[in-house]
Assembly symmetry: C2
Homo-oligomer: 421 residues x 2
């Protein structure tokens, strides 16, 4: 009997957990991702704010499955899946047959169809975004130094972040600290105190997934860090020089960072599957793509109802739990046993705001301030895969904490053959 | 009396030493570089071979001069210098007046006018090169995995390095170890043992700056690491698929890495100054640009005769010594004292070949094997600026040494606004 082949599309939190679980059994696993690394997205904003190296949040998938003979990894872009013939199609034309597929292709930045924004705003969703953002932010200060017109100089030093969810809040706090604790010493000839971080949120509070008390606390703490928080404020447009708000007001800014939401990866739209209003793939209670017995969908790309009827949030914990659950159901099906329905266990949510300040909701308890920050630190350190990364990240964090320094603030990008500088 | 202004063009080894020395005195120093970091070039090949992070060899210039009120740093590209009017011209049209200028703009890859090579070969000279090379090498193995034709697969896994100086030797050894110690476990489905590293040298031995005994030792050790060393072999052409040797022979290779030499930075050719055959700026015995009293030239861009009559090599130690000497002469001139002629003190040269294997020539003694490697390690660690970098680099090296792992092997590049992946 040949071993059944499970192909997992995406090496994010969901795909990785699924592969790990299957690798322990007699299952032939093929794991596919566009990149050769797993990205620890919750710490991406620290790469974008010059605190961590890319390699500290991006772990090579091959190093994770080193020594495993059951998981084969491929760097490729899946362009389509024939769910009847059970074949995946790759960008280069190659096809891969499967017995069961797990669609875990994740999400991408949601610009809500605003193409002008998409052209000039900076994302903070993947590693290329974070590196581009780091280069851009540091470059803005170098340009400001050369700028003789005070109004244009201020524009170079104004950073508008759109979206008051965890990413927006964490990046706003990190940028503000970068400016006030580090760049102020780096640029003695520049009035870095004038640099502005503006956080725009369309709803009436920050961190809408958290209890109102914590969202309100986050706003106050960000404001005490010097961040200008605008609530009930939607963005109408951006031309690279000024952000136009829905009310008509303009904020001069050479940078707009878009953290206002994500949408399912493009693959979801190229499959012949039922999709919900958000574009996420509909699944049954066993996490199978609705109407399919040999296709599962998990993580950001899947529309999984939570205990309150809403879809589960597009975050790491639901993806990880669903990845393990899908693996278990694949193993049950292989043994002819009945599948089990997926039940999400909410272990809490947390966000860091700045030095010694965080918020967390764990087990029905609200934590804030130092204890919220300490909880955030421990949990994130624990989940960073691999001892070495944990150690190096801890050193970086400790260095930053005690020295008010950020060691990574270099502007760099790789060259391609024949490319001029 | 206003303080005299010294403008230093280039924050490499020479420019940095010069700025450090001047910063201690009542001199107004402006330091200019195209990048916002100082690059520790001797370890660049380790970035290109997935061992070190960019931030471990690139130190932000602003962090080096943090707290100094005497050194002002500017990120800019100097396009010309009016040596009579004493003004620098920048790419953006701005001009900077000076009392004394120190030209320390360094060097760039020398393709010897072979434009076809320049288009398709990969350099290993600056940080963009090293990151591009890392992405490329890792990408070649991912591509090889998808390649069904054995000949094409082998071509993807063949890496031709041109130039048997320290850079070529060190990179050949590092690549071979990356393949044989690390990637062989990463790619169980690929016959990584077939991967070839070919080192081409036009002269009759490697490391021609070293005693013949050490060059011969380096060749034997590289060969025992599996590197194919071709001596007396010049390159005639490269089309991205095969390297054509001067004798007509072809080596199929999807990668050619050019480490065959450097030439002075483009700025040298845009100045109205006497230049030697190599294009380097001629200087008098005091390191002043020949015929000029207020312009100095140091490092790779300057033609400084050594004790044996040959020009000093384009390496860090002569640049560092000249940087300090130029600073001292500028200070002497400011006080109306006579300048002193520059005498280079050769403290030795060294190169690492692989795990536990290095060569060094120090104080007239040849060191090789483990002791040569240990000497290399200590000296390079010592010269890496800043305690933190030393500590992190030591951890990375120790990890690699004991675990046969390379933690940085991710393929990444920054995104620009509006750019699709």
């Amino acid at each position: 009997m040949t071993k059944p082949r499970v192909v997992i599309v995406g090496a994010g939190f969901g795909g990785l957990q699924c592969a790990h679980r299957l690798a322990r059994r007699r299952i032939d696993v093929v794991l596919i991702d566009r990149h050769n690394y797993h990205l620890f997205t919750p710490l991406l904003y620290q790469v974008a704010s010059s605190l961590l190296n890319p390699s500290e949040v991006a772990i090579p998938v091959r190093s994770i499955f080193r020594g495993s003979t059951r998981v084969r990894f491929r760097v490729a872009t899946v362009t389509g899946i024939d769910l009847d013939a059970r074949r995946l199609r790759m960008e280069d034309g190659a096809e891969i047959p499967y017995d069961t597929v797990v669609v875990a292709a994740g999400s991408r930045t949601n610009f809500f169809g605003l193409q002008a924004l998409e052209r000039s705003a900076l994302g903070v969703k993947d590693l290329s975004d974070a590196l581009g953002l780091r280069n851009h932010v540091l470059g803005c200060f170098e340009q400001a130094l050369r700028e003789e017109d005070p109004a244009l100089r201020l524009r170079r030093m104004t950073f508008v972040i759109v979206g008051g969810g965890p990413t927006g809040v964490e990046y706003a706090g990190a940028l503000s600290e970068l400016f006030r604790l580090v760049l102020v010493s780096d640029f003695p000839d520049l009035e870095v105190e004038q640099a502005r971080v503006v956080l725009l949120e369309a709803r009436d509070r920050l961190l809408s997934e958290f209890p109102a008390e914590l969202g309100d606390y986050a706003r106050k703490r960000l404001e005490s860090l010097g961040v200008d928080v605008y609530l009930n404020t939607a963005v109408a447009g951006y031309d690279g020089e000024a952000v136009t708000l829905a009310g008509g007001e303009k904020i001069g800014a050479a940078s707009m960072i878009w953290a206002a939401g994500v949408r399912p990866a493009g693959l979801a739209g190229r499959l012949d599957v039922p999709r919900g209003r958000s574009g996420r793939i509909e699944v049954d209670e066993f996490l199978r793509v609705r109407g399919r017995e040999t296709a599962f969908a998990i993580g950001d790309i899947a529309a999984v109802p939570g205990p309150d009827g809403d879809l589960l949030p597009m975050m790491a914990p639901p993806a990880m739990q669903a990845g393990r659950h899908a693996a278990d159901n694949i193993l049950r099906a292989a043994r002819g046993r009945p599948l089990r329905p997926f039940r999400y266990r909410d272990k809490g949510i947390m966000a860091t705001i700045g030095r010694n300040v965080g918020v967390a909701r764990i087990g029905g308890v609200n934590l804030k301030g130092f204890i919220g920050w300490a909880a955030w630190l421990l949990v994130h350190l624990y989940f960073l895969i691999g001892f070495r990364n944990r150690l190096v990240v801890l050193i970086q964090w400790a260095w930053n904490y005690f020295r008010y320094d950020r060691p990574i603030r270099i502007i760099s990008r790789p060259r391609r053959p024949g490319e001029e500088e």
